[in-house]
């Protein structure tokens, strides 16, 4: 038990610290690396809670795809971040006021007991016992049966996103050599290779067709 607590606090502290560093780091590449650290630690927190599927998904999706994509964008686009940040501090007072108001409201709501955070026993709709079915298995059992409708709907959303990305960015450029696989496959040695006799000492006596 004590070990679990220690592990929790270590992971939690590192997560929060990495989160702060994401916005504090000057170099955007470092920000992304700290983001990855934060993701790994949150995955550890999920494992502690017994949600191993979420932990794996977090690592695979967020670290494996999203963060790496960020890295690519940061490295490939030459954006001047210090310029982007230049006017940033002037919003600080306004942001601080809004934040303070929200905090005060939250404290009011919870302090007056208007919202009971210990919500009644309404949850737990047909949750299978945790020691009988693993997370992944339990999700798989319902994802393709009970929630097949939503699964298909989500699939359509992804398809539309893909079509949209193509529609809005794809254009035919002129003067670009496009790969034509059929032509490449159709070539054989008769058309692709030309044998020429070159006499020693003679230079540039052959031309490609």
């Amino acid at each position: 038990m004590i070990i679990e607590t220690i592990v929790f606090y270590v992971l939690a502290v590192v997560t929060v610290a990495a989160g702060v560093m994401v916005i504090a780091a000057r170099n955007p590449v470092q920000s992304v690396l700290f983001l990855i650290l934060a993701f790994f630690n949150s995955a550890g927190l999920f494992v502690l809670m017994g949600a191993e599927f979420l932990a794996m998904i977090l690592v695979i999706v967020y670290v494996g795809a999203v963060a790496v994509l960020f890295l690519f964008v940061v490295m490939m686009l030459n954006i001047n971040y210090s310029e982007l940040r230049a006017g940033f501090l002037q919003y600080l007072p306004l942001g601080a006021i809004v934040g303070a108001i929200l905090l005060a409201e939250l404290i009011l709501v919870f302090a007056t007991g208007a919202i009971d955070i210990h919500v009644p026993e309404v949850v737990a709709v047909a949750t299978p016992p945790a020691d009988e079915v693993s997370n992944t298995r339990a999700l798989g059992n319902i994802l393709y049966t009970r929630y097949a409708y939503l699964f298909q709907g989500a699939g359509f959303i992804l398809l539309v996103a893909m079509v949209g990305a193509i529609v809005l960015t794809h254009r035919r450029r002129v003067g670009v050599r496009r790969q034509k696989i059929a032509d490449q496959v159709a070539r054989d040695s008769k058309t692709a290779v030309v044998l020429k006799d070159i006499k020693p000492g003679e230079e540039g006596s052959w031309k490609s067709d």
């Binding site: 919202i115 919500v119 709709v125 049966t145 939503l150 959303i157 539309v160 079509v163 949209g164 193509i166």
Partner: protein, 487 residues
Amino acid sequence: MAEFTAPDYLTALPEIFLAAISLIFLMIGVFAGNRSTKLLTWLCVAAMSAAFIMVLAGSHSYSTTFFGMFVSDSFSIFMKCLVLIGAAVTLIMGMGFVKRENMNRFEFPVLILFATLGMLLMISANDLIALYVGLELQSLSLYIVAAFRRESLRSSEAGLKYFVLGALSSGLLLYGCSMVYGFTGFTGFDEIAAAIGHGGGDTHSATAIGILIGLVFITAALAFKVSAVPFHMWTPDVYEGAPTPVTAFFAAAPKIAAMALLLRVLLGPFHELLVQWDQIIVFISIASMALGAFAAIGQSNIKRLIAYSSIGHIGYALVGLAAGTPEGVRGVLIYLAIYMVMSLGTFACILAMRRRGQMVEKIEDLAGLSKSNPPVALALAIFMFSMAGIPPMAGFFGKLYVFLAAIEEGMYGLAIIGVLTSAVGAYYYIRIVKVMYFDKPVESFDKPIGMELSSVLVGTGVVTLFFFAYPTPVLEGAQAAAALLFP
């Protein structure tokens, strides 16, 4: 593991059909290229017509499928019919524009079909997650078609603005859904209704306040989707910047689907909390009517003007919802049906505003239209009088039913404000008529306007003008649909 029984697919037949056929159309487009745009547009119209028949032929009784996530009843049938008509007519209207204005890409009709599918899913949603999936499918397709003319700066701006603000509203919606789920423990509408009925109705309990916060967020997000004040700010810019057929589509179909969602969510799971959400609806209704009336006065671009006018119309429709009675909801449905016909007709006129091959959008470009093109001028005059609510045009009856419902409930203030703002609104609608009939003619528009536009103009014009002669189908459909939401 529990035994799995396959859901009843027949209930969702129109949606399954549209989903399958849209994939086929996409493949046709990919292989045939942009040459197939015209063919695909007609195929999409045919698919929507087939879906329309399936919707009408389906069972009108209340039935759910996909484990209660999908519902089909007379309300969904009425709304789906409107959406399918709106989508098909805008596709037909836009054909000439798409061909001329460098939008001739096969993805356009297919994306409209995807958006229509999303709207049908929204209308039939009976679960918070299903609601979100339908809404996102619709919104994502709409963001793309708004930015479809990517070489036009205004179109890209419209798409980007719509996307950013739409993402914000989706965030609000999800936050509200998570609150409701957290405090009731369910995502299904029926279960939420039962949970609220069991004690959440008592507004002093801790649970009820949590649900209320969620309800406010969900209402705000849906108000964004129907572009009601104070969540309207995207509307004028997006309407002005998006390509005109896309604007016509925005004004017709998505508003109706979002309104259907608003009605179903507020009157379904949250019916018990009517006293709570009624205040919100009354406020956004008054604010929308007022802004729609006053902000439109200074506009010189006709698309922007119609954007403000649509904000106002949503305000009038919400008067019926604020009444919170079956008569009120019937009024909303009738209003929506009439509004859709009027706005389709108006956009058909706007699409006819071409001078030497260029689209023009200024109101003063309409000057003297009665001399240069009397039929279009007559049609636009009919739509403007109808939007202003002057009898015997259809728009008058739309307003009549919602205001009557409000008065029956004793909401005199709301009804009076509604009548006053529509008097203000009449000023700018009739100003357009004045510009067309009494101002000095400028250069004529290009003629002919094309078969598709003419037939849409004639159809919508006749419906608007002679609605009073045979209103029975709309009235009966709306009656049956509204009765269902009040068990």
